[in-house]
């Protein structure tokens, strides 16, 4: 909707479509310069934090998994890592590999969903995935087939395709039978081929020529593309423990927003997620994914946020290939879980959710009762950077009409796949020009 006035212009829309959930966006423009950008997302993890207090530490993985319908494994993994840190427990390598396999399943589900149904329509002139499916059903079927492979992993390892129930602090309730894991190999081979086709497909899209000045943060792991464990690291060499990262990541209340905004203490805002992971850990990608990235024209780092769809597709290849490796090497752990006895203390866990770093930190007492909880989801960590993107997009797009500019802004938000599905609230979009 456009409100016309001599001295000002307001563009508003009810809802940013194709983001997971809802929030609000407002951009103010004065004399051709962006004076304010506010992406406001209701942030229920904050309320979950209060709800967790008084609960037993063993309940955290399942309760927090219900925050997000799209990435429950991420919540389970970060919660487990934090509780195990608090109790000074390490799990076996076999359990770590099983966790990584489960996490790959979630990456496959989430990335396939975002690429095919939420993001690709932006580049193909389609209003939404329905129009894309009507125009080219085989393409959408390919995306859904990839997503189903993620579902299969979730079922085999997590016990259910949606909201897995097999994860516990210390490991799993039961270990999958080798035959159930072996049955994943063939679908994964097909998914890997489909993921490679996805990279070819999306790398042919036409992207706006935009370069962000990003401060990337991602987990680092010595020998593998970090997913379920690692140390938070900055592109320029910053490397800290999960606990140190929790201290460095400062969250601020902003008057106009219900969401907290994250900065690194003494530095500025930062970006987590596929672009950051690729820039920091790209050299650790398996050959098949690295080749796909090269063939897609990606360099060592990608700073065009609109091309995040290409990076996400490369990560899809990685997740399928890595899951296949883990399936082929699978040996059931000796025990499904290690015993975790509670002890009073603070623990921090950070893992790579599909959208970026997810930090959990808990203080528990000697009975294992949660005294304090802190959850820092990737979307809140990325908020300030997404606002920066929006500022750039609006300034570069002054010649666009209101509808086109609003559309470009919505695209800029979707580039980072913000996840706000856990919010039972509603969204407005407003662009004001004076």
């Amino acid at each position: 909707m456009t409100h016309g006035a001599k001295s000002s212009r307001t563009i508003s829309a009810q809802g940013i479509s194709r983001v997971e959930g809802e929030g609000s966006l407002r951009v103010d423009v004065r004399d051709g310069k962006v004076t304010d950008v506010a992406l406001d997302i209701f942030e229920p993890p904050r309320y979950f934090e209060a709800m967790l207090v008084g609960r037993h530490f063993s309940e955290a993985p399942d309760i927090t998994a219900r925050i997000c319908g799209i990435c429950p494994v991420a919540y389970q993994m970060s919660a487990c890592a934090a509780m195990e840190d608090a109790c000074s427990v390490s799990v076996s390598d076999a359990i770590k590999r099983l966790r990584r396999l489960l996490y790959c399943g979630e990456w496959i589900q989430s990335h396939a969903l975002h690429i095919y149904l939420l993001h690709a329509p932006d580049f193909l002139g389609c209003a939404d995935a329905v129009e894309l499916a009507e125009r080219d059903p085989r393409v959408v079927e390919r995306g859904l087939d990839i997503k189903r492979t993620g579902n299969l992993i979730m079922e085999a390892v997590g016990g259910r395709a949606i909201h897995p129930v097999n994860v516990r602090v210390g490991g799993f309730y039961r270990t999958p039978d080798p035959s159930a894991i072996a049955a994943l190999a063939e679908p994964l081979r097909r998914a890997r081929e489909n993921a490679l086709a996805t990279v070819s497909w999306v790398s042919g899209f036409v992207f706006p020529d935009v370069a962000g000045d990003y401060r990337f943060v991602a987990l680092r792991s010595p020998s593998r593309y970090a997913v379920e464990e690692g140390r938070p690291g900055l592109f320029e060499g910053f490397d800290v423990s999960a606990g140190q990262f929790a201290e460095l990541a400062v969250e601020e209340h902003v008057a106009r927003s219900t969401a907290l905004h994250s900065r690194l203490e003494g530095r500025d805002h930062y970006l987590t997620g596929p672009l950051a992971r690729y820039a920091i850990n790209g050299a650790l990608l398996p050959r098949v994914a690295a080749d796909a990235a090269r063939d897609a024209g990606l360099g060592a780092a990608c700073t065009n946020p609109f091309q995040s769809i290409v990076v996400r597709a490369v990560e899809l290849v990685f997740a399928c290939d890595e899951a296949l490796r883990l399936v082929e090497e699978y040996e059931p752990p000796d025990s499904p879980a290690v015993e975790v006895k509670p002890r009073a203390g603070v623990g921090t866990g950070v893992t790579e959710a599909p959208r970026g770093l997810l930090l959990h930190q808990y203080e528990i007492d000697d009975q294992g009762i949660i005294v304090r909880a802190r959850i820092m989801p990737p979307t809140s960590q990325n908020l300030l950077t997404v606002e920066d993107d929006l500022r750039r997009v609006v300034e570069d797009g002054m010649t666009l009409g209101d509808d086109d500019l609003q559309w470009r802004c919505e695209q800029a938000v979707r580039n980072h796949d913000p996840c706000i599905s856990c919010a039972a609230h509603f969204l407005d979009v407003t662009v004001v020009r004076s």
């Binding site: 809802g15 983001v19 997971e20 959930g21 809802e22 229920p44 309320y47 979950f48 209060a50 709800m51 309760i63 219900r66 997000c68 319908g69 799209i70 969903l113 149904l117 939404d128 995935a129 329905v130 499916a133 009507e134 059903p137 959408v140 079927e141 859904l144 997503k147 189903r148 579902n151 395709a161 949606i162 909201h163 706000i420 599905s421 856990c422 039972a424 509603f426």
Partner: protein, 167 residues
């Protein structure tokens, strides 16, 4: 025990978070109805209607149960027949699509249109919508929504029985 005839697969899908008070009523009703009619396929609790793709393939009937916020009296139950294969959709469907009545970001009607475009739509899709009042954090249903649960379960079972009779 009811046994559904071949080709009359019924899927019951409960939507919502059990940690968001009345938002969790869909899962509660779905689980109760499925326990009364074990030959049905229950999925959920779901958060995203897109998860129905692949779950409802070949179904003769899909019953989606979800909390809504439309301004009606809390506990009000509406049974909405979704227009499978339709283009324009009913007024109720358009409301669902516009997000104004559902607590979820991606509309059920949109997923139905997507499934139709892919030839994967179920033969029949019915939404049992229960008007919620409290969507804050917690696990207790509000009193009017709690009181509506038995009737909502009865309506779902009735739909299943109809499907069985018609099969």
């Amino acid at each position: 025990m009811s046994v559904l005839a071949p080709g009359s697969r019924v899927v019951i899908a409960g939507f919502g978070s059990e940690y968001r008070r009345d938002d969790g009523v869909g899962s509660i009703v779905a689980a109760s109805a499925a326990s009364l009619r074990p030959s049905t396929h229950e999925v959920g609790p779901l958060s995203d209607p897109l998860d129905l793709l692949g779950q409802w393939d070949g179904a003769a009937l899909v019953v989606v149960i979800d909390a809504v916020r439309s301004g009606a009296a809390p506990g009000t139950i509406r049974v909405i027949e979704m227009d499978v294969g339709g283009v324009a959709g009913s007024d109720d469907e358009r409301n669902i699509e516009s997000h104004e009545t559902s607590t979820h970001g991606i509309g059920l009607a949109g997923v139905l249109r997507l499934a139709t475009a892919l030839g994967r739509a179920p033969a029949r899709l019915v939404l049992v919508a229960i008007e919620g009042r409290e969507f804050g954090f917690g696990q207790e249903l509000s009193a009017p929504v709690e009181a509506a649960v038995p009737e909502a379960v009865r309506r779902v079972v009735e739909l299943i029985e109809e499907a069985r009779t018609c099969a």
